[in-house]
Subunit: 202 residues, 2 copies
């Protein structure tokens, strides 16, 4: 369904491990995701996990990429003719779900492994970029359906993302790299300012 070519036996095995991992996390949180529990749930030995995944971090990273792929599919399949507000409201719940399932793990993982390999970091950035692009498409097309134009600043999409995550008690990732931090700050502060004040009576 989501695969391009025939999945190999190794791919099937990896899938099996990832499904077991997702089960464990949703059942007992991150602390339930131990290598031993995972091996037992996936019906294989301890050592075999290390044949299919480099380490625990790799398992989690794959889990996270799954989540992001799901989010991209969801964004792309969202109707555009209902406008921007409908899109945003529809994304609140899925965003919350993503945060609950892997969001807090990102914090853990980042905290526990500040020394990720370069290519692992690269893969992670790439997956995040794809998700941002899907959000950008959805925002732009929904705005267009209302006959409006989305602001061109590249900070807009991360701003929306961070706001959605705020609602979902989210941990906004550090992924947001190709960005003018001052502009992002400025935009966010302006939004805060306008929504904190009562409209002046004049």
């Amino acid at each position: 369904m989501t695969s391009q070519k025939e999945p190999s036996a190794a791919d099937d095995k990896r899938r099996l491990i990832l499904d077991a991992a997702a089960e464990l996390v949703s059942e007992g949180g991150y602390s339930a995701l131990s290598i031993r529990a995972l091996a037992s749930r996936a019906g294989m030995s301890l050592g075999l996990l290390y044949y299919y995944f480099a380490d625990k971090h790799a398992v989690f990273a794959a889990l996270m990429r799954d989540q992001q792929a799901t989010m991209v599919e969801l964004l792309d399949s969202q109707p555009r003719d209902l406008g921007l507000r409908s899109l945003l409201l529809a994304m609140v719940e899925p965003t919350r779900r993503q945060w609950l399932q892997v969001g807090r793990l990102v914090g853990v993982w980042r905290a526990e492994r500040p020394d990720v390999t370069v290519e692992a970091r690269e893969q992670q950035l790439d997956s995040a970029r794809t998700q941002f692009e899907a959000l950008e498409r959805a925002l732009r097309e929904c705005a267009a359906a209302e006959g409006r134009v989305m602001r061109a600043e590249p900070e807009i999409v991360p701003f929306v993302w961070a706001s959605l995550m705020g609602i979902a008690d989210l941990h906004a990732q550090g992924w947001v790299t190709p960005i003018d931090e001052d502009r992002l700050t400025d935009i966010t502060v302006s939004a805060i300012e306008e929504h904190v004040l009562e409209p002046t009576k004049e």
Copy 2:
């Protein structure tokens, strides 16, 4: 300086442990905060840590309350006559610092210990509430200095908080309890909506 009465010998010891813990975290992240490293850094035995703190979680919780107390002091000492925007801009950096130092640990701790005791949770909520009240005071007084009135909805302060955390790559805590989630969603979505669209030309 921050204490009301003469600190006892036990308080001093606890202070010593917490300072050592803060050092370790700032040096090597959460993974560097092991009980053994902490005991060694604080110059005491393994077992003694458990005399002064119930467990590792208690050490971290105390660390977090320190950070929040610092934030409250900072908010209260912020000048009011420069208006709301200045306040917000001034809070961006301290907020980021708090997030870097303990923010990501909250995620870890919550993930690793979903079964916190009731009183521990209560203490945490209380500390968070104090911080929110300080933010509310600062916002209201800064708005007043501009001759404006802050919106009365209780969702406003958490909205500001979440936005600041968004800028700081922050993990917005689950503390935001006495709140209408739909209203919070609505306000945030409205903010997003207005800041995503180019002003119509008419």
